[in-house]
Structures are given as C-alpha cells and as structure tokens.
Subunit: 313 residues, 2 copies
Amino acid sequence: MARPKKILAITGGVGGAKLALGLSKILSPEQVMFAVNIADDFTHLGLHISPDIDSLTYALAEQNNQELGWGRAGETWQFIETLGSLGGENWFRLGDKDMALHMRRTGLLNDGTTLTAATVEITRRMGIAHRVMPISNDPIRTVVQTERGDLAFQHYFVRDRCQPSVSGFRFDGIENATINPVIRGYLTDCDGIIICPSNPFVSVAPVIEVTGFLAATGHIPTIAVSPIVRGAAIKGPAAKMMQELNIPSTALAVAEHYQGKYPGLLDGFVIDASDAEDLDQFKLPTVATPSVMVSLTDRIALAERCLSFYDEL
Amino acid sequence: MARPKKILAITGGVGGAKLALGLSKILSPEQVMFAVNIADDFTHLGLHISPDIDSLTYALAEQNNQELGWGRAGETWQFIETLGSLGGENWFRLGDKDMALHMRRTGLLNDGTTLTAATVEITRRMGIAHRVMPISNDPIRTVVQTERGDLAFQHYFVRDRCQPSVSGFRFDGIENATINPVIRGYLTDCDGIIICPSNPFVSVAPVIEVTGFLAATGHIPTIAVSPIVRGAAIKGPAAKMMQELNIPSTALAVAEHYQGKYPGLLDGFVIDASDAEDLDQFKLPTVATPSVMVSLTDRIALAERCLSFYDEL
C-alpha cells in the first residue's frame, strides 16, 4: 500500500496530542489534519472549555506543561486559589493563562463564531500552522454511566478523579451532530487515517460515531495506536475503565474492541515494543514499536513508524 | 450637635475608600455602614464588575494595591497578558486575583443572588466585618456625555483614559432603581451621613439621586469631604470634568455644586488644610484639615476630624 499523501489524525487528550506533535513535525499542514474529540467539552464558570482541543493546541504550540502533564507551560494559579478563598468552585484547576484561552473562545462563541472558527483564531494566534479541527461544531457531551449514576465527563474525570466504577457511556447530542464541514471536505481526498493513542471509549468513540464519519472514511486505510502498554494506560483511566467493563486491559483487547464495535474500521494496529510477545494473537496487521513518548524524538519516531507501516500493509 | 451614633458613609472609588478605612478603624460595624456607588458597574467578558464595591472591599480588607493605586495587592497579570496575545479585549486590566472576585460575584448573581447578598458573601470571605452595601440591587449605569458622543462610564474612564471632553452625565436606570432595603432600614435611626472624598458627578450623584434617598436622609446631618485639594483631584477626573463643565476646579465650587443641586443636603464641609485661606468664602460651616491620606494614620485622623466636626455644628 502506498504511503498516504493526506492523513487525518484522530486525537483526544494529552496522549494523542503527543503523537500529533510528532506528525506535525514531519507532515505539512496540507498533509495532516487533526480531528479532535469535543465530547469532553463543558461549560464551567460561564466559560466554554474544550479540554481536548486545548491539549492539542498547547502540544502543537509546544506550550504544554511538561511538569504537570496537562495544561499550559509556565502556568500560575492566582485566579483559582483566590476563587477558592472566596467560596467559588475550584475543583477544576484553571490556570491564569489557561483561563485566557477559555475566555477568548467563549467570547468568540458568544459572538456567534463557530467552534471551528474560534479554534482557527486561537491556534493561529498561538503560531500553529496545522489545522486543529473539532469533529463537529455541534455539542456532543459524554455522560459516564457509573455506580453513582450518570456523571458529566469532567465531573467523573476531574472532580471525582475517575473513582466511580464505570458501566458504560453515552454521547448526548451525537445523533444530531453534523461532521465538521472542513473535515468532511478534507476527507474527499484523504488517503490515510491514524487513530492516535487516545482513550477508545471516551476520546475516539465520540469522534468516529458522529453521523456520517464511518461512512465517509470506510474506504480510507486506517491504523490505530494502542493507548494501552503492558496492561496499563500511559495516562488517564482507559485501563481502569476496561477492567470495570470486564475487558482485559491489554492492547489486544483494544484492537478487538475496535474490530468488534466498528467492523472494517482498522487496517492496521500499532502496539508498544514491550507487548511484542503478543503479536501473533492479533487478527489484523500489527506492528510493535516503542510507543511510550517521552521526548520529541520519541514522538517523531512513532509518527514515522505509523507512516512507514502503510508501506507494509 | 451631638456626635452621631450611626453613620452612613457614601463612597465611590479609591479616594472615598481611604476615608472609609479610617472610619472602619474607629467605628464598629454597628456604628458605620458604607453606601457604595454602583453606576460604574459594567459587564465585561461576561463578568459583572463593580469597581467601586471592589475598591472599598480591597481597602477594608487592606488588600488594596498601594503601588498601582487601584486593584488588589500582590496582583499578577498572566490572564490579561495571555488574553491580549490571543486577540481578546485587554483594555480593562483584569488581574489574576481580581478576576476571581468578578467570577465569584458573577456566579452568585447568575444563581439569582442579589448584588447585596453577593457582596456580603465576598466581604465576609475577605474578613471584613463592616457592611459594604451597594446603593441599590437594581442596575444603574453612568453614561458620560462627551464630545465623542455618549460613552459607557468604563469606556470613558479606562478605555479612553478620561480624554474626551465632558458635557454632562446620565444615570440610566436610576429612576427605576430602588434604594437597597438594608440601607433604607439602617437610615431609620442613622444620625449622621459622611460623603467621602469621591467624585461629586459620577460617584456621589448616582448614590444620592436614587429615588427616595434624599427624602429619607434630609433630616440627617450630612457633611462632605472635598475631593478637590488646591484645584486638583487627588485621583481621578473630577478636576478635569469641572473645567470642562465650566465650573472652577476648587473645593469651594464642589460645596456650591452640592448646595445648588441638592438644597439642604449639606450641613458641613471639610476642605484640605492647604485651602484654608478660602475658608471665609464658604456659605456653610466648613473646616480645614489635612485631607490628603497617604498613611493609615492619615485616614484615621481625617475620620476622627469628620466625627469631631459634628460636635462643632
């Protein structure tokens, strides 16, 4: 199979954004577009917060906070500390710089700008040449079904620190959400899709389950990178969720989940080198390669390996 | 005349707040209440901002920024700098800590709390025992009539730095604004009113012109402290406004303005010691005393002098 000329990369939060940065370093803005999950978005303190768009934006601008593993570099916390002292809600740790991004986005949305146009403005201002595209301009909101009842995603993820046991997910609004027209247009001659190492249940699912997405991409060679390495998630609750859903928390189970739920979606799968012993169990072309991205070199190497994988399919 | 047992002090911004702090140091929360101008309030970036309430709150909490002369002590500016870099409106310099106060107030107001109850909550959280009371829970908005047309107060004051020449003022909403019931109740046995050294046109006028205020206070001995010292305002545009309105920018003209516009309002007037040579021109009991408040001692001394003035009336 020929190496794709135009890649659509699907990303969720921080893990996916690492590979996205690698891809952005070796592919031009014409050669790769990022389709980002918006089902984590929520309104908090009157602000429209888009955590996955922001994680990718900070990563591509190389302004991500490497000490914390989330948020913006060089962040300070005067606002949220003071808000707490005044009795305000402070469970969602809004940094002073990060606040500005949410305020700017909210102002643009309140002026009638689409989420896409607001994201274009913000990423342009941050010096990002590549296109960061919300999967839809319409609201999609993940509801996590737990032992404590239904929880809005950020309540589950941040406020309750992923502690409640999960039984399922719902994506409110997804049936009425239209695929972002910029992504739809890009897909007409896109010839490769890479699912970055993001959570299959709450980051990737609400992207690919948007009405029309699978129909528009079914013919496009698609590979996914496992977010699970040696039974654990590099970041986030994916492994814990899999256990609670009675799925083994393995890279193999991730591939089988994608294959079972979305037949025909995957043409190839990428696992970490440390899971190479399981390679013969996969029921689709699979390669093992170092996928734990610590340095920029790691990010670029994994991006290169994803592209060269197409040559082998 | 006996020294009052219960004082209502009318305050605007930073100048008035200095005397208010002095009063709070020598009078208990039962002995003095602060009636604060809200006509400078505005909605900006979705936040309800009450500059005069905040100036007084920071002053009474001794959290006012002494270097800047406005805003909160120990302030940082990450939010507003970042917002500017993202193309957002940054002419109103919102500090990171100050933002938290606006966000908390806005949240409380959006939950249906009155401005009074929101202010009580915030001042309590900041450790202030004295009562900071907006003159009304209803919106009043100063419109500055200028050579460039009508300007919302903060556009005139902050964005345009008081540069446009002023021809008059309008207080939108004042005819429908009801006096704060807490202030109305306090006035039933209040026996002294002190008008702090605030701008007569845009700080004091929209307090005393609230429907029913003058009727409720006409019998209460009232003294005012001149915000003009040796022809200049200690802070703010009062002197510039007086020149543009063809009024001499003198303490005498301030007294005559109050006497002409609100007959019977004033029972005494306080001017700065440096203007003592003009004392015989005043057509009401007037004392000259050091009124430029630099230190806390200055604030307390002027507060003491205002109270002792009642003994001489």
